[in-house]
């Protein structure tokens, strides 16, 4: 955890409760999850009750209260991907990683999430691994792609 970066984000928005979501998102992007002590800090610095920080943190799927894996798998389950076979692809990924959407494996290797429409429906079914797009994929292709990751 890079405390300096987090402090910098907090200092920029100190005393501005309206920036709560913005600040939490920046920290999530920086740190990939929100440890409790960081949420306490957010509450103090922005002058918002901790209960409200927790409420926002648990309301949105983007925020994570647990550490994330080294590699992030996003399987698109938007409608267009769905009618082109996203479910079979997702089943394969779950089978191979042993985790369900929203989970991280015990070795912190993979985190799996389903995402709603990423706006590239022509590529469906689509999986993103660490920001790299695998378009028009199939269970066999994605199984092959997952082998590359350590």
């Amino acid at each position: 955890m890079n405390n300096e970066r987090i402090d910098h984000i907090l200092d920029e928005h100190q005393g501005n409760p309206g920036a709560l979501i913005q600040v939490m998102m920046e920290i999530q992007e920086e740190n990939h999850w929100l440890p409790r002590e960081v949420m306490v800090k957010i509450s103090e610095k922005l002058d918002v009750p901790l209960s409200r920080v927790l409420r926002i943190a648990t309301f949105y799927k983007t925020f994570s209260l647990t550490p994330k894996g080294r590699h992030k798998i996003h399987v698109c389950t938007g409608t267009a991907c769905q009618v082109r076979g996203a479910q079979q692809v997702l089943n394969e990924v779950q089978e191979l990683t042993g985790i369900k959407p929203g989970e991280t494996d015990p070795d912190l290797k993979f985190s799996l999430e389903t995402v709603n429409c990423q706006g590239c429906c022509s590529l469906g079914p689509m999986v993103e691994i660490d920001g790299e797009t695998h378009g028009k994929t199939s269970p066999a292709e994605i199984a092959d792609a997952l082998k590359k990751y350590e």
Partner: protein, 560 residues
């Protein structure tokens, strides 16, 4: 410092930019929309950079990474100007040949041009490709022609002229009248007349007033707003500034998604440039009008695209809707008048001011004017963004632009508006694209996302899928939505597993009625719409799942 202080200075600057342009200078326009980037267009762009450097052509040829060209299915797309030669499915290996043969020698490379799969005929020019041929690309047509990160490119195609006209030649009342006469209707889903909304916000008591761009675009299968906003951000900003002037607002907001990094980057740059040139900030273009814009990001929940939830989110609170006995245009952000329109609605404003309401209302049908961006997806040959005049038949959209259904399958249904929209069967394919015609059929146009479903699709499963999506996206504040979705989802899940019971359909209808009447926000009151439209047109399929334990599309496992 190029700050502009009058309409005359804007025109001088524009003339200067145009004078600097070398006529007929070759330009390579590469689509850098989401789909093309996903297909590895980043590598094509760097290959062009390297090749131009190698051939010492950097000064003689312009290289431009642009917003979405629309024809996502055939990406990565490259268009060579001035001839407008369009190459599809370009790979980095093709780049040296394109530079040598097409850019330098002006020859067409046959194997890279579009081939019509039906007729085998080739089309070298973008305007000859059937997908583009009969579109009316008033909004998105400029995207291949400009670098979205350059305000000068936008000025070169006449950008900010509408703002100058509004500020210096028109009173706010006149602008309002023009938008009302044009009958511009909101493109976000409701189809509510934008002029009436603006008027309500303008006349509502309370200061300051806010104007907002809804760029949330949460409906799965909707990607046209992102395509337009990323590819031509200044167009939307110009529309918003004109709206602010009309309504009397000094503060604007843009609410968009956090997961589209290219949009964020282009938008931040556009705002910075607009401030530098004096189109935002204090005393805009020397007119005395002050206005600025703040960007807010959604953190990933569908309900935050609902107007009152979106406004709560801008306040830094959880995006829960509130009952709208009082409209947000009267009492929105911090209980002040707040006018919200979506990306495409704002993008229509500059051309209405430039060309007049009579011109605008000559396009489209009697009650739905102008063009509409449609994102085509699902079981369709050409997924992508299409812009056509209102009134175009669904048949033309699917078969002429969309290229029909792949793998020789038959069309079964057309679904509009995502999880809060509706499906219509193949037999209604001659319906025109029109807000009222579609909503009469039970499939409101929504934001313009058109999902094409082939004969292998099980409608019960699609209904279940939408409710599953919504169960994760409901904010949970009101009982009818939170519990209603859960119960409907439970029944449909049973049905798809072959455990449907007599009375299930009647029970679903009853729950639908309660949710539709009693949920708090427009999202909640619309969750039953896909299901009801499917009951109307595909009831036999639901009955087959229950009575015969059969899935006619043979999709549901465990059923024959």
């Amino acid at each position: 410092m190029p700050r502009i202080n009058s309409a005359a200075e804007l025109e001088t600057l524009r003339e200067g930019i145009l004078a600097k342009k070398v006529p007929d200078k070759p330009c390579i326009s590469i689509c850098a929309g989401i789909a093309c980037l996903g297909l590895g267009n980043g590598k094509v762009i760097s290959a062009f950079e390297d090749e131009l450097k190698k051939q010492s052509l950097e000064d003689k040829v312009e290289l431009r990474a642009t917003g979405c060209h629309g024809f996502c299915e055939k990406g990565p797309l490259v268009v060579i100007y001035p001839e407008e030669i369009c190459y599809v499915e370009v790979k980095p290996e093709d780049v040296p040949e394109i530079v040598a043969k097409t850019v330098v020698d002006k020859q067409v490379i046959d194997r890279l041009v579009y081939t019509d799969p039906a007729t085998g005929s080739k089309a070298a020019l973008q305007s000859e490709i059937p997908f583009y041929k009969n579109q009316m690309r008033l909004l998105i047509g400029n995207s291949p022609k400009i670098n979205p990160q350059s305000i000068e490119d936008y000025l070169a195609i006449g950008g900010y002229a509408a703002l100058a006209k509004a500020l210096f030649e028109m009173s706010p009342e006149e602008v309002l009248q023009e938008i009302k006469t044009a009958n511009l209707r909101g493109r976000g889903g409701g189809g509510f007349p934008a002029g009436s909304k603006w008027e309500t916000a303008r006349n509502a008591p309370g200061e300051p007033k806010y104007v907002i761009v809804n760029a949330h675009e949460g409906e799965p299968g909707a990607f046209m707003d992102r395509a337009l906003f990323t590819g031509n951000p200044h167009l939307v900003l110009e529309g918003l500034i004109i709206g602010a002037y009309t309504i009397g607002s000094s503060q604007g907001f843009i609410y968009t998604r956090h997961d589209t990094p290219v949009l964020r980057k282009n938008l931040d740059l556009a705002l910075e440039q607009a401030r530098e040139y004096g189109f935002l900030g204090k005393n805009i273009m020397g007119s005395g009008f002050d206005f600025d814009i703040e960007v807010h990001l959604d953190v990933g929940i569908f309900v935050s695209g609902e107007s009152s939830a979106l406004m709560r989110s801008i306040e830094g609170k959880a995006p829960e809707p509130r009952p709208k006995y009082i409209r947000t245009s009267v009492s929105g952000i911090w209980d002040k008048p707040s006018n919200l329109n979506n990306v495409e609605t704002w993008a229509n404003v500059p051309q209405i001011i430039n060309n007049g309401s009579a011109w605008y209302s000559s396009i489209g049908t009697e009650r739905s004017k102008g063009t509409k961006l449609i994102s085509l997806s699902g079981n369709i040959v050409n997924s992508g963004v299409v812009e056509i005049p209102m009134g175009t038949s669904l048949r033309e959209i699917i078969f002429d632009f969309g290229g029909g259904i792949p793998n020789g399958k038959k069309l079964k249904a057309i679904h509009f508006g995502g999880p809060m929209g509706g499906s219509i069967p193949e037999s209604l394919i001659d319906t025109p694209l029109d807000f009222d015609a579609l909503s009469k059929l039970g499939a409101s146009l929504g934001a313009g996302d058109m999902l094409v479903l082939d004969e292998d699709t099980c409608m019960v499963e699609i209904a279940r899928f939408f409710l599953e999506f919504l169960s994760g996206e409901s904010c949970g504040k009101c009982v009818p939505c939170r519990e209603g979705i859960r119960q409907m989802l439970g029944i449909l899940t049973r049905m798809t597993a072959g455990k449907g019971k007599e009375g299930d359909l009647e029970l679903l209808e009853e729950i639908s009625e309660v949710v539709g009447e009693a949920a708090l926000c427009s999202l909640g009151r619309s969750v039953q719409k896909p299901l009801l439209s499917m009951f109307k047109y595909f009831r036999d399929e639901f009955e087959a799942h229950i009575k015969e334990k059969k899935c006619p599309a043979q999709y549901c496992k465990g059923l024959s």
